[in-house]
Point group: D2
Chain length 327, copies 4
Amino acid sequence: MDSNVKSIGVLTSGGDAPGMNAAIRAVTRAAIFNGMRVFGIYRGYKGLISNEIEEFKTNSVSNIIQQGGTILKTARCEEFMTEAGRKTAYENMQRHGIDALVVIGGDGSLTGAGVFANEYNIPIVGLPGTIDNDLNGTDTTIGYDTALNTIMQSMDKIRDTATSHERLFFVEVMGRNCGYLALNSAIASGAEAAIIPEISMEKDQLAELIDQGFRKSKSSSMVLVTESEITGGAMNLAERVKKQYPQYDVRVSILGHLQRGGSPTAQDRILASRMGIAAIQALLENQRNVMIGIRENEIDYVPFKRAIKKDREISPELLEVLEISSI
Amino acid sequence: MDSNVKSIGVLTSGGDAPGMNAAIRAVTRAAIFNGMRVFGIYRGYKGLISNEIEEFKTNSVSNIIQQGGTILKTARCEEFMTEAGRKTAYENMQRHGIDALVVIGGDGSLTGAGVFANEYNIPIVGLPGTIDNDLNGTDTTIGYDTALNTIMQSMDKIRDTATSHERLFFVEVMGRNCGYLALNSAIASGAEAAIIPEISMEKDQLAELIDQGFRKSKSSSMVLVTESEITGGAMNLAERVKKQYPQYDVRVSILGHLQRGGSPTAQDRILASRMGIAAIQALLENQRNVMIGIRENEIDYVPFKRAIKKDREISPELLEVLEISSI
Amino acid sequence: MDSNVKSIGVLTSGGDAPGMNAAIRAVTRAAIFNGMRVFGIYRGYKGLISNEIEEFKTNSVSNIIQQGGTILKTARCEEFMTEAGRKTAYENMQRHGIDALVVIGGDGSLTGAGVFANEYNIPIVGLPGTIDNDLNGTDTTIGYDTALNTIMQSMDKIRDTATSHERLFFVEVMGRNCGYLALNSAIASGAEAAIIPEISMEKDQLAELIDQGFRKSKSSSMVLVTESEITGGAMNLAERVKKQYPQYDVRVSILGHLQRGGSPTAQDRILASRMGIAAIQALLENQRNVMIGIRENEIDYVPFKRAIKKDREISPELLEVLEISSI
Amino acid sequence: MDSNVKSIGVLTSGGDAPGMNAAIRAVTRAAIFNGMRVFGIYRGYKGLISNEIEEFKTNSVSNIIQQGGTILKTARCEEFMTEAGRKTAYENMQRHGIDALVVIGGDGSLTGAGVFANEYNIPIVGLPGTIDNDLNGTDTTIGYDTALNTIMQSMDKIRDTATSHERLFFVEVMGRNCGYLALNSAIASGAEAAIIPEISMEKDQLAELIDQGFRKSKSSSMVLVTESEITGGAMNLAERVKKQYPQYDVRVSILGHLQRGGSPTAQDRILASRMGIAAIQALLENQRNVMIGIRENEIDYVPFKRAIKKDREISPELLEVLEISSI
């Protein structure tokens, strides 16, 4: 392999996700291991434009694998959506001698990367960093497993009080228009049901639940709900139940931003480490405009266009697992 | 000591709190250790009226010290506020030969206990079980330390995302009209401020914070808010900031019911164990209508009337600790 | 599908693993969902012989998905290795009308199941329950992800003190003759190296580490070691270093039995739920003498003989990830 | 108050303890709040001698309250026990203009502080930082509550496997010659007994346990043991049982260094924050050669000599609580 990349920049963009630091660490060390220089770019594309760029050494990423959030910080950046913004960004890269970028983020971040890469002919490799697990071409994303466990641990706490009081809880979790997080959280936490966008579009899940009388054999129930206009959110669903079925003692919990934080799980740290090293490997192989994906436990290169096109489907097996295991 | 108590009933009442199971375990074993019979009463006073009562043996409380919630379940019971309700309750006690009660709960539960005890001349000992730590005559209550740590761990997660994004977070926690939980959580989580009922009544804490420009030297801030009509709650405060200071990127998180759950901390398990054993000791000493308190690390007996009269004050030292350590 | 199985027994055998309860729950509910009766058999094959058998209903497995260990308890049973023992076991099955078994355990347990199944022509389905992840035909086993996270969290704590003191730690973890757990733990915890049986057989890993001077750029180091005769264990390795390199401040930590316990992670709960339901599905399809495996995220049936033949290999990619990310 | 202290140094010394970072943060901010300059001294007295000293600003201690270990690192330093070493240390203080020291550590560190303070007439205030809780004049020490919870959580995991297998576990914990940690851990984790130095000196606790047949009503047992020559340690006790009572399935677990690490609990963070601020307050009041203690929840000044004289006694109430609650 004979790559022209001598110096790379790494940035985190969009919503933060646990494991981003483990990815930054792996990218940095793999680059240095392969004789490259590495620059940390702060606040995503914003820092690329405002030139918040700093050279990283091996020690710059010591003792961060276990930390949530991102030491590079992240931001959403409207200026990068303009040609002028991207021009400044490119000029800053040149100033530091940065040949290529590794971008860690979700679909918005990768879309921006694709535009920038094409415009200035820069090799860019993306890493899927999002708790929503809503990207194509990869079985899982950096941050998803941690968020899943964080939700589950919150549900374990809520169950304590739910069973003590014999109540019906609606718990709202993140996921944008993707029910993956809610469905898996529901299975993992022994909840009764998951009201998710993919299914809510087709039928009235709440009506169905009510018709079945929730779990007649149980004294308390928990229902996961994806935060989404399609599901209506936990608050709306609870209001409907209160009106139609005043006999239920209904409560709502919106887990909110704590889902994004926390020390990453082993899976997320290992995934981020593997992907970070694979990103440098991809650049060495003169790959560009690809996202590193993981398929059937093997590293894969996914063209940006395919990664951000959403056509993931909810697994019928998982829906059945939830239904059967919560009887 | 020559006590007439041969057989006791134990119940949990009101809001559940972590450590209630450890208390049930200690009460049960201390009673058996002292030659008494023990009856577990389900769903608080409700179960006393509906006769959901079961004899407990040593093994009935095995392997529960680490569990959140309460195996006896809990409920609020309006019927117990009527004479007829209490009469049925008393008759059920007689039917099982129960001479005395140990009631684990907050001020509402202890108030009910006081009425019942006087009406039927029953020895009742109360244990302070509430996360709010809002009872008089005891330095701390069963469940408070666990809730404090649960909030702090949630804050640690929120801080990850707050610092990654440089945001201002308002986080709402429980406490009813007592700011103890919010103030201590703020210190423990390195938050900037705590907006609490005791102070909100006297001055506009938010205006003061805004005047000081929050922390000028910091890029992100977290403010704890007690859920209370007096503070207005996190949502209202955030709305005010958004209107007056649109430059802040404000977010709200309402921690909700997860604060009540979870495996109890060491302090709560030890406290509950000590108090549970002290409750039986108190009955053996022919005490009645007292709550077990802990003062300066010593067990104390607190008459119900004093326990439920609220005149606890916020410690000026803690307010200063928060102010200085968050500069 | 037309299955003759009307009534099943479920047992856990061998070393316990987190997620076994989630598996018991799923097996029980899937069986009831499909119209079967279910019997919980206590203490593994021992209880099958001593007739510690109890019918399970839906509620028998309520509120256990989050619990570590196994409510059915487990034991090693020499009597089941005799013909007489298995005869008694079979007679007890007949007495209760149990047509088929679901056995949750590691390779020893599945070997026993295979012998029993052939001898008495009983349909038996196995679930891979072991933290060691040392079974063939499945990408992962119930309990492995939890053990991995438990080790990682312990390492996070040890790192706090290691970096405060600038020490070299050897930490010994479980895994029998399989280095999978140690290698992945090392990556997840940012350790320097993993000394594992698969490689220790071929070369002197410690000598290699010492030759490289551990990490010259770092002030503290952690090395994972698989508990195994082949590696020699952490204590022996530490002794070697102390003798040859007295300048290192060496410490040893043997994590021990806490690796087996704890509330299961989301991955283990979901895996156990999927596998438990698949076990009943397999019986409905008249499968027998197969272990439920998971391959590339799909459920698979693995004949017992193949499952317990060990030929798993250590992934060269993971070895490289550890080497590069710890420079 | 009219203090001559314009500039302070802060260091951590001896064994590290969770909460030391929270203390460093509070000391730093309280000093700046009161118009002083602050210097962080690395590696304890060693760095004072080798001049590893750096000025701290408010931001130097941002985002560390939740971190285990100590950002100032710690070391044991033999050179400081010599006059020459202390002379160099004093000269480095003068070079930086440091008027006073805050020393965070255990009794060895405070003893050293006392000698140095007298020799050079330097105001020194100590903070009790040790997981052992073995200092006089303070109800608790920074790190103790976290270590207690860490042990308890490990015990919760061990209990999962202990009850699954019906075993007898000896678990060894830290504490030097102080059984406080073992005794409280035993109560909190529902263990059967604690074999601790204070009692082992007087009687053969193991023999007593064996005579009582451990818990006859229970199928598994856990016994905490303080790591100490007086108790003999867990390994020795297990050997004795194996020889005399081969029917027990005995296991040993030595928790080791993970007890020192981990994110501090709320109690430790609050305690460290209060004590750190009190240390600066003490210097402002021209106090010197005192340790900050906490007595009955109030800050207290304890002369070094009294703090390090050990005459703490084991509470008979706690011994009784353990005995009764584990029947």
